[in-house]
Assembly symmetry: C2
Homo-oligomer: 483 residues x 2
């Protein structure tokens, strides 16, 4: 079997072999490419070190129910009932737990499709899904490409509409491709878009009309860091258009900032689907003691609701404020959203030409400057030049990462003194422009992140536009919808 | 994708839905079908509840090196160096860790074969491998069938020889099947056979001659319960015939009696192989905290060598003595071996006819009597009537399981008062023939197993034959090599 390495994998491996560390490897790669939240180690470590985490029971050492121990599935059902605001209690028998959402995507593709079938996905999309769905049975993706230019009555760039979905379905049919499912990621990765209940209902109606399984990926549902933004899980809906074909994914990697715990779940009322997944789950099991730990985390609502979630949101908002401000300082336009760990940013002005080859070269240039971000090609974005920047990291690393991005752009002559018109913003970056180690002690990863949001100029809180912010200055590639 | 449920899976699911419990579900299924060691919960629980198991580090909560954290791979290399008696230190870079050996078999098949290729396996073999290797790329198995009748100079039933391997290779070639690898399980499952260093060297030479990857599964290497038996890991060899094509598997499920910890490893000096596996490992990752726990277990040599291994062996030997004695009491011949969790037993005399349909019916009859064992068909045994009986369980459950087997056979008229000639053995079974709850309190699974081997009549220690034991009495289907 030959398996091609994706750009995301390539970047992750480069980082793995040369991780930045403030004392041990200061010239290592700063990872602003992998979607992880590194803001809450202190909270998680403290909770995971409590005595209730150490528990043993013979069942934890035996071969488990492959779809997850019943105690964990019950806890997941109860947790989702509360945090998704389900109209009636969700049930453990509808829950399947696997070691991460990649395993779930692989298995869901295998049980909903035959080899050669396809799954529809609005694009740009989280690119790792391509390898996931291909893994077991060669399922491929069909794209609904979203345009970065708003137009035709759209007021949002990359707007997803039912019309666009229908059009790509028609095209797939015309090409003889059998589409069996559609993936909706909400909040969206990499766009950060939150689809409203009305939008999601319309998308699910589309799926029903076309007899598609709707795979609704809500792994960022609790990672909405702006209180004015509103997210509604489809599990909160009183009625789902096609309940037997709607399968909702969630996990610990994003909303609990714990990718290392390796736990993804899917909720589906379709028992055939659940049983089919259970048959593939023997290769995706989670150790019993870890299942206990995750159940304990989910059970501790007091800690989740009063400590972890509010602090996580505050830290995310501060970090987002910092990186978005730094991007404005660089004159890089970006999509201003309130969820996820990332900012979808428009580096088109930094390309030598408008091609994916040039995008790849820019990505390599960033890596030479020891900062990893993810190029739009990895998300199958139709337009070259977009990058996903992860902002959920400690202040010092974000500073260093943004300095390195600036240096790379300066080397290319794509940013200059006039790179930001706002004097304060420029000053904000200038204050950290020296790549020397920030004057703090104990920068190792074991050190908890700063307890309060980093002090940033208050005007960075300001929304410049509901969708876009920053004024790209030179070269004159500013899209018309920026300021 | 359509995936057929195997007999082993079917049995396991039946058990999962109706588990025996002494107080909560006394009429539930006794599982003597799934290869687990339930003799050491007390030792493991005590060790896994020690404070060093509770540890946190940011890296444990991040996306890991998919082939395992380096601290764990280093510990595995060091452990295998010592317990396999490697002539020089094994290296962490040659180790890949995944969530269990099924994941490893799936991934190894995918990286050594193209779709449609085949892997050779001496048969009977651990049947789950069939589904494992088919999972990713439709790899199938080619069998070297071993005959239950010794003959042609053989003195061991089911004897594996190079001649038989060569013959099946020739046959595969003649049929246009491309064989890319061969699996050697040592100690063998389900036979319990231990292949000597000379035999293994000859098998590896065969693999080299035929340019086959040799997948050497040594997951039972520390589960040899008779001190007079000698096992040698191929990792102890001064020279391997084809070092780049030899890959050794091991894990925690069997030798650490901890299938629930979900950890399998493969050791290979072929770096292309290691890198290829690493690319598939994103779907088979283990939670960081579990990796820490396993590393702590492996690191604690004092506990492993002075406490766990000797006690485990003593308990295994006692349990083996009990079940083999009970089989003798039933007049069921079996292969007398000194490793593994199972006894490979010959129930041919209990079949209504010599067919796999009759074998399946007997299996179903056992299940109706609420005892799960594994029929030979699940291991692709060429001759119907053989069953694998797991003996590594607590005394009370073994007693109940053997009573239920006896009742099933009695119902079929395949065992009677004259079922055992040895009065003491018969008395031994008679003493537990009443299926009422044994007169002990606290039979729940949380209760630790008895601290010392169960008191069994001393003559049960006796080896009746080096290969076979028991005298099958009636009906007269006794194979000629029994007593």
């Amino acid at each position: 079997m030959c398996r091609q390495q994706s750009i995301l994998q390539e970047g992750f491996l480069l980082y793995q072999n040369d991780k930045h560390h403030f004392t041990r490897n200061h010239n290592g790669i700063i990872n602003m490419g992998t979607s992880e939240n590194k803001l809450c180690y202190d909270l998680l470590s403290k909770r995971l070190m409590q005595a209730d985490m150490l528990h043993m029971d013979p069942a934890l050492l035996e071969y488990p129910d492959w779809k997850g121990h019943s105690f964990l599935r019950e806890e997941v059902a109860s947790f989702l009932t509360e945090y998704c605001k389900a109209p009636s209690p969700l049930e453990a028998e509808n829950v399947v737990v696997m070691n991460g959402c990649s395993s779930l995507f692989s298995s869901i593709a295998a049980v909903t499709c035959d080899p050669g079938d396809a799954i529809l996905v609005p694009t740009p999309f989280y690119g790792a899904i391509r390898e996931d769905v291909a893994l077991y049975s060669g399922v491929r993706l069909v794209h609904t490409h979203l345009d970065c230019q708003p137009g035709g009555g759209d007021d949002r760039p990359f707007l997803l509409t039912v019309e666009k979905l229908e059009k790509s379905m028609e095209q797939a049919k015309a090409e003889g491709v059998r589409v069996r499912a559609v993936i909706f990621v909400n909040p969206h990765n990499p766009l950060g878009e939150i689809y409203s209940a009305e939008e999601m209902t319309a998308f699910l109606e589309f799926a029903k009309r076309n007899e598609l399984h709707a795979i609704v990926d809500e792994v960022y549902m609790l990672s909405v860091f702006d209180e004015s933004a509103s997210f509604q899980s489809v599990l909160s809906f009183d009625r789902l258009p096609d309940v037997q074909r709607t399968h909702v994914m969630w996990g610990m990697s994003k909303d609990f900032a714990a990718a290392g715990l390796r736990m993804g779940v899917v909720y589906s009322q379709n028992q055939d689907f659940v049983l089919a997944l259970a048959q593939l789950a023997f290769c995706h099991g989670i150790p019993g003691p870890s299942q206990h730990q995750v159940a304990q985390l989910l059970r501790d609502r007091d800690w989740v609701s009063r400590e972890f979630l509010p602090q996580n949101r505050a830290r995310m908002e501060a970090a987002h404020r910092y990186v978005s401000g730094a991007l404005r300082g660089l004159g890089i336009p970006y999509l201003h959203r309130s969820s996820g760990f990332y900012i979808w940013a428009d580096f088109r002005k930094a390309l030598s030409e408008q091609s994916f080859l040039a995008e790849r070269k820019l990505w390599q240039c960033f890596i030479r400057h020891k900062v990893l971000v993810s190029p739009g090609e990895a998300f199958s974005c139709a337009t070259p030049g977009w990058f996903r920047i992860i902002f959920t990291d400690q202040e010092e690393r974000l500073q260093l990462g943004m300095q390195r991005l600036r240096k790379a752009l300066e080397e290319l002559g794509r940013v200059s003194g006039q790179g930001a018109e706002n004097g304060d913003e420029k000053a904000g970056l200038q204050s950290t422009a020296d790549e020397a180690e920030p004057k703090r002690d104990g920068h190792g990863p074991l050190r908890p992140p700063p307890p309060s949001p980093p002090a940033l100029p208050p005007h960075w809180l300001m929304r410049i536009s509901s969708h876009w912010t920053s004024r790209p200055l030179s070269p004159p590639l500013a899209p018309p919808w920026t300021l």
